[in-house]
Symmetry: C2
Subunit: 387 residues, 2 copies
């Protein structure tokens, strides 16, 4: 392919880096939650105790120990797998690239949620797919709409979903819909790409089983990540799939970048062996739940009633729906940033087909409590004047 | 694309991991040369002094500081560039993937040396190019043969070369040929991919200027790597190219895996700020030169005269040419490994077009002095009986 679309993400990163701006834009984790002391300890051990291995090449699918540790964690989440079903990736993002490289030829159909994760569209675009999107509500992708799409497009190859606390909407797919999705995937011979980097950041209620745990035909590829539960600067994520698909993806991984950083894999293995990551995740969950509660409470109190918002039970995002005709992108450029010094992500780029201007993704993950209140109050004031 | 070729590299890695086997197979650096103490120090600083940045997301093209440091090193090598001309990559291998993703559509011609780097073919294959290879001699790619290829295939898009101490042949392209290559690239509007991970491992003589330093039209993409001069487990390499090409490649990098590990980039920046990497590289060069001298001396003394070998002035490899009709792959499987417990890389997979069986790549980089002598003596004994 020859042409690449400039990325909307870059503009957001630029705004996020301006210290004058209260940014609800980035999907960054809160850096104050990184376990620095423990990571320092395991990097020292990885280098001083076994540096000749930790700094050398290793097998391209990932170190056997880390794949085994990931498989065990997946088992606890109801997914039947072992180390041979795991491919260690350069973050979940690499899974989006490699799966589309494996599955998609130019013009092939990818089915997504509407809206869907912008980073996935950026990964898929170079393979020049055709997108068809499926409506969502508070229970996730609507199965009657998916069924209609599949009846009209039975040749579709890949279905992409973020079922837990979706980026951008914060919505989680219900158990009933997950079951139906698997039935339809079996009927229409779809590969299902289940992208779930926020899954472990649940604030309340019971986890809904992953699609992969219901997959009896080896057609679901699960993507997970250490970015949101440990640190994104390590660039470590993983895919879990059938042995056959992992072999294919592993060869594409070898072709794309040989392997992930041996040192980072070794250090994370030592971390998992030495420390209680679930206790660490519990502390992250508490921190984000507090921020989420504060943001939603402030929105509820301050925003005009005509603006709807989702109530995430985990993750980092709420999704705003403004009245029809409202342009969230223009409002941000003309009012929110210059007058209020507040930024969010306008919703339009998250729609792969018909972009709707009256949405915004708002993240509570990195702002202080004071920043959340001030930013939402400021937005509310400007919105009241505009709507 | 749907199909991936199983990789010859995997079989080699398996043999390399068997402690009974003296392996001249892998292109691994010698792990005893890794600067463990210094790396331990810079990782500690990266985590304890600025862990909230080092473990967070950063800009997808790579941290500004590391790009600046790389640009300065490239300046010293005669390449006119600044940080905006640099893209930090997940090892040089990722450059092979992203450049072919940018340039190559199915059926497009890639021109390579004959033989060429196997990892490059593995990276290019998913984009389904057509290969045309160009003969080499002791001065590298033959320009009269390249001219013939271009006359016959003026639509060729990409020329791939490893001009310094080539993997697999150990050969370096002469200055005169480099100048002619640039003339031909300008005449035929080629993108030139200059892959030079071994460039700084020169044993003797003066460096030949990089192709990129002679590029007046922004058509050369230079790939470098920290894998051979620091440690491959960090997975850090770089591309240097025109600002326009770096922007395109940067968007593909964002799509493929968001960014390289922030922590690894931060630690390498601190290493470059704190320590003298050129002194470190000088010590690596001395170690490899000693191993190379010992191996070539032993080959000269022990091998049948009918076997030719290249005399590398840097890097990690010599390339054997056996008499016509000799099958280096069969000999390794039937004699060298089972009887002699010695492995190398049979040469056939390094040829993108007509695979020739009577070659082998032999690496001296990881074996002890005793291993080099014993392995070569054993091979010589078995070869004398077979040829």
């Amino acid at each position: 392919m020859n042409y690449v679309k400039p990325s909307a993400i870059r503009e957001l990163l630029r705004l996020g880096a301006d210290p004058e701006i209260i940014s609800f834009g980035g999907g960054y984790p809160d850096a104050s939650l990184f376990p620095l002391e423990q990571l320092n300890e395991v990097y020292q051990r990885a280098i001083t105790e076994k540096g000749r291995d930790s700094l050398q090449y290793t097998v391209s699918n990932g170190t056997p120990r880390l794949r085994e540790q990931i498989a065990r964690r997946m088992n606890l989440d109801g997914i039947d797998c072992n180390a041979d079903n795991v491919l260690v990736l350069q973050g979940g993002q690499q899974g989006l690239d490699l799966v589309s490289k494996m599955v998609v030829d130019r013009g092939d159909i990818i089915i997504t949620e509407s809206p869907t994760f912008l980073g996935a569209l950026i990964a898929f675009n170079p393979y020049e797919p055709r997108y068809i999107d499926v409506e969502m509500d508070d229970d996730g992708m609507k199965m009657d709409d998916l069924e209609r799409v599949l009846e009209q497009n039975p040749e579709a190859k890949l279905l992409y979903t973020v079922p837990d606390f979706q980026n951008p909407s914060g919505v989680t797919m219900s158990l009933e819909r997950r079951k139906r999705l698997i039935e339809l995937a079996n009927e229409y011979d779809l590969i299902v790409l289940e992208d779930s980097p926020y899954r472990e950041l649940r604030f309340s209620g019971e986890p809904v089983p992953p699609l992969k745990s219901m997959d009896t035909e080896g057609r679901v590829i699960f993507l997970g990540s250490f970015s949101k539960i440990l640190a994104p600067g390590l660039r470590l994520g993983w895919a879990v799939a059938s042995h056959e698909l992992i072999q294919q993806l592993g060869l594409l991984k070898l072709a794309a970048d040989t392997q992930c950083s041996t040192l980072n894999m070794s250090a994370v293995s030592l971390y998992l062996d030495t420390y209680d990551i679930d206790a660490h995740i519990a502390s992250i969950r508490t921190a984000y739940r507090t921020k989420k509660d504060l943001m939603l409470e402030t929105i509820r109190r301050e925003f005009p009633a005509s603006i709807r918002f989702t109530e995430p039970s985990g993750g980092m995002f709420t999704w705003l729906t403004f009245p029809e005709g409202f342009d969230a992108g223009a409002f941000m450029r003309q009012k929110a940033v210059p007058e209020g010094k507040v930024a969010y992500v306008p919703g339009a780029p998250f729609f792969p087909v018909n972009q709707r201007a009256n949405h915004a993704r708002v993240s509570y993950s990195t702002q202080s409590d004071a920043g959340i209140v001030k930013g939402i109050e400021t937005l509310a004031r400007l919105l009241k004047a505009a709507i």
